[in-house]
């Protein structure tokens, strides 16, 4: 649809910080390889309280992030296929299939396979699939699995659930301690929590800058720059990255420079993006359509206040029980309405992701409620984040075009 044009004519602007992002990703990869060689690498789920393994000096990597990279390389169907060859269903989460597939045939997935883990840390605050998925990886690699069980929260977290999660976190510390023969040092966890909190606060600052018109960041920018806050929070270099990033974002705001050249329509994006077709956002950018907010990158705004509270463990329990996907439908609807109002958005696009039932369930109902409460129209499109076989571009285009015809 869009021809390759010189950078200055492209409808969207490239972030200078992207170069730094590549460096940080490269560094993260090297550190993970080193950790694996030293026998101290953990694979963790995206909603895991990563501050604890980091404070206990383990290396960490995220199979979900590897899945996103596999998706972006457009090899999702092949790599998911390796898992399907083992007998896994096409209905299984494509992050899980990509992870199992790349563990089965790492030589076929040079950029997306992760170094061998010594321990697998799963938290079901993002979904229930992670346990079975990590069990499968455990069978393939021999690394033991620890599950941190966080019961879903409808409104407030019940006291007995809070206590239950608290004991889970204590068991986690014991589990890592006995497996690697080390203890969690009080000073170190405070330091890590503090760094994590700093990075998260900077991330929130960048997200909130998108309330400006034009928005300094579009959807694809945030999907890419969220990587460190997901995978490296609790480290110095993560904080450094976000300091540079926020500087660039705020510079754009100061100069009235938008992420896209001619912002006419502002939309909300709901759910994980189609990593294989991020150009979806660029194609819309060429028509003046931007996405100043999305529920996905805003899910990483849980803020650890590392220094002011007496108990880091309580802080961990609070932060990781209340992640976006562990809350009920009401909380999701509230969040979407809040984003639409705060960011002054004209409409919303909900991506119904075949893989992610936890995220996509309830979208039909919430679409109605969000429109009722905010007065802006929305549309549901279907597909998958990694497996492009279930992404029908023509159907998606018709739905999104129809939404835009209602707005423009």
């Amino acid at each position: 649809m869009t021809e390759e044009r010189a950078s200055e004519e492209k409808p969207y602007r490239r972030l200078e910080t992207q170069t730094l992002l590549q460096q940080i990703a490269f560094r993260h990869g090297l550190e993970a390889m080193q950790a694996s060689e030293n026998g101290e690498l953990a694979w963790v789920t995206s909603g895991f309280p990563v501050e604890i393994p980091i404070a206990m000096n383990l290396g960490v990597v995220y199979p979900e992030q590897a899945g996103a990279i596999i998706g972006a390389q457009k090899i999702g169907p092949d790599v998911c296929g390796f898992a399907e060859d083992l007998g896994y269903s096409q209905d299984l989460c494509s992050y899980a299939r990509a992870s199992i597939g790349s563990t089965e045939k790492p030589e076929e997935v040079p950029m997306g396979s992760l170094p061998t883990p010594q321990i697998l840390l799963a938290c079901n605050n993002i979904c229930g699939t992670v346990l079975r998925w990590y069990d499968a990886i455990s069978e393939m690699t021999g690394a033991p699995v620890f599950l941190l069980d966080t019961p879903p929260i409808e409104k407030e977290q019940l006291p007995h659930n809070q206590e239950y999660v608290r004991r889970g976190v204590e068991r986690l510390i014991e589990f890592i301690g006995s497996h690697f023969n080390r203890t969690l040092e009080e000073d170190r966890i405070h330091e890590v929590a503090n760094l994590s909190s700093k990075a998260t606060k900077l991330w929130i600052r960048a997200l909130e800058a998108c309330k400006n018109k034009p928005s300094p960041l579009n959807c694809a920018d945030r999907f890419l720059t969220m990587a460190p806050v997901v995978s490296s929070r609790g480290t110095e270099h993560c904080v450094e990255f976000y300091e540079s990033f926020v500087e660039e974002v705020e510079e754009r705001v100061k100069n009235g420079v938008g992420a896209i050249r001619d912002e006419k329509v502002r939309l909300l994006w709901d759910n994980i993006p189609p990593w294989h077709t991020l150009r979806f956002f660029n194609m819309l950018a060429s028509r003046g359509v931007g996405f100043p907010a999305d529920t996905y990158t805003h899910a990483w705004t849980g803020n650890m206040v590392g220094i002011d509270t007496p108990s880091i463990i309580d802080e961990v329990v609070e932060t990781y029980s209340k992640v976006y996907l562990n809350m009920g439908l009401d909380a999701k609807v509230d969040k979407m309405c809040q984003l639409i109002n705060d960011y002054d958005l004209d409409g919303f696009v909900m991506f119904s992701v075949r893989s992610c039932k936890r995220y996509s369930l309830g979208q039909l109902v919430s679409k109605e409620i969000v429109t009722e409460r905010t007065g802006v129209p929305g549309v549901i499109i279907e597909g998958d984040m990694v497996d492009s076989r279930v992404y029908n571009a023509a159907q998606i285009e018709t739905r999104v075009d129809a939404l835009l015809e209602m707005l423009m």
Binding site: E368, E382, A394, Q395, T398, D401, M406
Partner: protein
């Protein structure tokens, strides 16, 4: 004048309007394997029917093949075009249900004739014209005869599956069990209507309701859908042409703006 061309998955439609918005010529043919050829033939047909040289008359394209219509000044989705087309003939309509060859849509039309909300079927042929085509073949009747056959039934067979492929084997099971073709045909319509009515209710059933698309020509579909929604359904004279008509209306509007 203005031309609208609707390149659908099954048929390609064309409408030529005069400057007062009256239909001068219309055309409908199978899309076949080449959308480009179907468009050429459609233009040719409209031109010879009206005896008018179409040069310089603005064209708006719509339908799944809308990007294939090179001479169109703009392509507009079938969702907007159907709304505008139906509004052009009956401005009172508030809910439009369009059932074509490969998709089904429920569209809430605002007072200005533009869509306010819409729902489309998922990636599945159940609830579309294709579903009826497959079932007609299994029952060995023509598509045109399927509806009248179903209306003879007093006790529609139960078809639980909403998947075209599984429903086909269910129908074959009913045939084996000796159920009448009329009852099975009626069951097929009831099953299809249940999907379409769910889609419509999601958008909100606001009367008066209009049905368009090729499937609107099927009397059993209209009968069962009307029962299911508990409302009368209005079917325009050429229910397959409303998308192309809407596109032609938009072409006229565009022309008005530029002259």
């Amino acid at each position: 004048m203005g031309i609208g061309i609707d390149v659908g998955s099954t048929t390609t439609k064309g409408v030529l309007l005069d400057s007062s918005g009256k239909v001068v010529a219309k055309s409908l043919m199978l899309t076949g394997a080449s959308a480009i050829q179907a468009v050429e033939k459609t233009l040719h047909s409209i031109s010879s029917l009206s005896n008018i040289n179409l040069k310089d008359i603005p064209v708006i394209s719509t339908g799944y093949g809308r990007a294939r219509v090179e001479l169109a000044i703009k392509s507009v989705t079938e969702i907007t075009c159907h709304s505008v087309g139906v509004h052009h003939i009956n401005p009172n309509i508030r809910l439009l249900i369009d059932v074509g060859g490969q998709d089904a849509k429920a569209i809430r039309i605002g007072p200005s004739g533009r869509p306010e909300d819409f729902e489309l079927n998922d990636k599945c042929s159940a609830g579309t014209g294709r579903f009826l085509e497959v079932m007609a073949r299994v029952l060995e009747v023509s598509l045109d005869d399927l509806g009248p056959l179903a209306l003879q039934s007093k006790k529609p067979s139960s078809i639980s599956s909403t998947c075209t492929v599984f429903a086909e084997s269910e129908v074959i099971g009913h045939i084996g069990a000796g159920e009448s073709a009329a009852d099975i045909a009626a069951g097929v319509h009831v099953s299809m209507v249940s999907k379409i009515s769910a889609l419509s209710k999601r958008v909100g059933v606001q009367e008066p309701v209009c049905v368009t698309g090729g499937v609107a020509l099927n009397p059993a579909f209209v009968y069962y859908l009307s029962n299911q929604l508990g409302t009368e359904l209005w079917v325009p004279e050429d229910p397959q042409l409303t998308g192309a008509l809407g596109a032609a209306v938009i072409a006229l509007e565009k022309k008005g703006k530029t002259t």
